[in-house]
């Protein structure tokens, strides 16, 4: 398909299969499906998302596409409730992870965020050593040192970073390249054994080769994790997604709306909404 990704397939070390794949029994938590119903997000008086209902199937990759400012990231941050870190934010509607009510005031946010990991647009490793970046969240879970070291190696192998960094685990994570940093962030999220992984344009700050490797990683993670990926790159959505949700900013200033959702092929080959058709063909947006 894409020359870059097919190249990098051979470049990336034929590392061990993903922990979860090689040994499903080791994976206590299975990928979870997530459902949102009538979800609206407000920042102060500004509405960012308008009554979105959609499902993210367990173990599949759902891509969210659409022009900037139509609420894709807002939807993403509802799924792990990071949205509430914006002081003026307000969310209405429902969000479930399997049977679990995400929006309920009694939800243990810390446990939720361990199960719903998030990768940001800009790689954001802490100014700590490479290994400590992965260990820090594990320490807060009370995992013993010996086990932590095992997990560090495990997840670094999963993201194909182990061979590149095994000799400098105690160097600063900030010395890594952008692509390596992003894979470290993915490794850090995987270390918590999440059931869902949210990715907010994970490749947009990376050069094409690094982006290709992250993209390939996303395909490897499929079926072990439920993945929700925001992307502006239509070709990328086509390459990685099982399902696609198309967002569009409403005309009445009521924020972004979900205008169409469906299997990847359908969205790109037989879109039902005229805006979708225009957008995926690059005529609008």
């Amino acid at each position: 398909m894409n020359p870059i990704t097919s190249q990098t397939t051979s470049v990336s070390s034929p590392s061990l299969p993903l922990t979860c794949m090689s040994n499903p029994a080791a994976c206590i938590l299975q990928p979870a499906s997530m459902t949102v119903t009538d979800l609206s997000v407000f920042y102060g008086d500004h509405q960012a998302l308008d009554k979105v209902s959609m499902e993210f199937s367990a173990g599949l990759v759902t891509a969210l596409i659409g022009p900037s400012g139509c609420g894709k990231t807002s939807l993403l941050t509802c799924l792990n409730r990071l949205v509430q870190m914006v002081p003026t934010s307000r969310v209405t509607g429902q969000c479930f992870m399997d049977e679990f009510d995400v929006m309920s005031p009694t939800t243990d946010i810390i446990s939720l965020r361990r199960q719903v990991g998030m990768i940001f647009q800009k790689p954001n490793p802490f100014a700590l050593s490479i290994s400590r970046n992965i260990e820090l969240p594990l320490i807060s879970q009370g995992i013993k040192r010996h086990r932590r070291h095992e997990i560090v190696e495990e997840v670094l192998r999963d993201v194909g970073l182990w061979d590149e960094v095994k000799d400098r685990l105690h160097r600063s994570a900030l010395t890594l390249s952008g692509g390596q940093q992003q894979r470290l962030c993915i490794a850090r999220a995987l270390a918590l054994k999440p059931r869902v992984l949210l990715m907010d344009e994970p490749c947009s700050a990376l050069d094409p080769i690094a982006a290709g490797r992250v993209e390939e990683l996303i395909r490897k993670l499929r079926s072990c994790y439920t993945l929700v990926v925001v992307t502006h790159n239509m070709a990328q959505a086509q390459r990685i997604a099982d399902h696609v949700g198309v967002f569009w900013a409403s005309d009445e200033g009521r924020g972004g709306q979900l205008i169409e959702t469906g299997p990847c092929e359908q969205i790109f080959e037989q879109p039902r909404h005229k805006l979708t058709a225009a957008y995926v063909q690059g005529r609008q947006g």
Binding site: P87, G117, P125, P137, S140, L174, T175, A189
Partner: protein
Amino acid sequence: MAENVPSILDQGLNLDALVDQRGLFWDRLVRVFVYAAAGVVAFVFLAMVWQLVRLGAGQLSWSFLTELPQNAGREGGIFSILISTLMILGVCLAASVPLGLASAVLLAQTQRQTLFAILVRRSLDVLAGVPSIVFGLFGNAFFCVYLKMGFSILSGGLTLACMALPILIRTMEMAIRSVPQEVHHASAALGMGPIRTWVTLILPAASGGLAAGLVLGIGRALAETAALIFTSGYVDRMPESVHDSGRALSVHIYDLAMNVPGGEANACATALVLLIILWLLNSLTHRLIGRWLGRRLIYT
């Protein structure tokens, strides 16, 4: 191809005309001014130190530091005064650092202009500008009289804490705010609780600024005279506990210089000691707080 491109020289242009003479003049003027300003600052400091060294260095000796003052400070040393000063500073820091850090964390976290945040900020701005003598009167009325602490190191230290708080909080708030929001988000997304996030990531990342705030606070406390006369008193004997009255270095300098004929030399020697302590504490604070808090952070 290069031959076809007419160069500036080919056209006989005068290169000097390209240089903006007026801009160059202002550039030079500003440069001279900036250097002169920095020079004046350095000169003032050096002149002061020279004056102190000239008048007071002769009095400095080990015994000056270890002996009690005699004859109203004209003779003897400043041992009891050193101890009082350090005790006052200790009380001040013990009270102001936890309060200041907690308030700074709260203020740095309130992104919205809540009424409470506005009220706290406004109070701090006003407090920062209140003359120390007013703090002295307040400390006397509140700590010495109302809380029945009397003239004591405790009253003095607490009064100094009130004085140091505004500057401590403001600098610490700035330091905390300078840590990018991404760190908060990254940490929250990894399911790390707020306490762990603050202790392991935010405060270490802000450690340089926190140390700077502490240095300013220590400076303010050590330099204070007026507020202490009303609160910790000016008895120059050795304090037995924080409930005793004690004389701070700056009060000693004031007393020797203004009230004790023949005390000038010892006043200058004491001032030298004060400067040296200030310098030591500053570098120590930067090293210890900065290094210790940020010990796990590595950027390169």
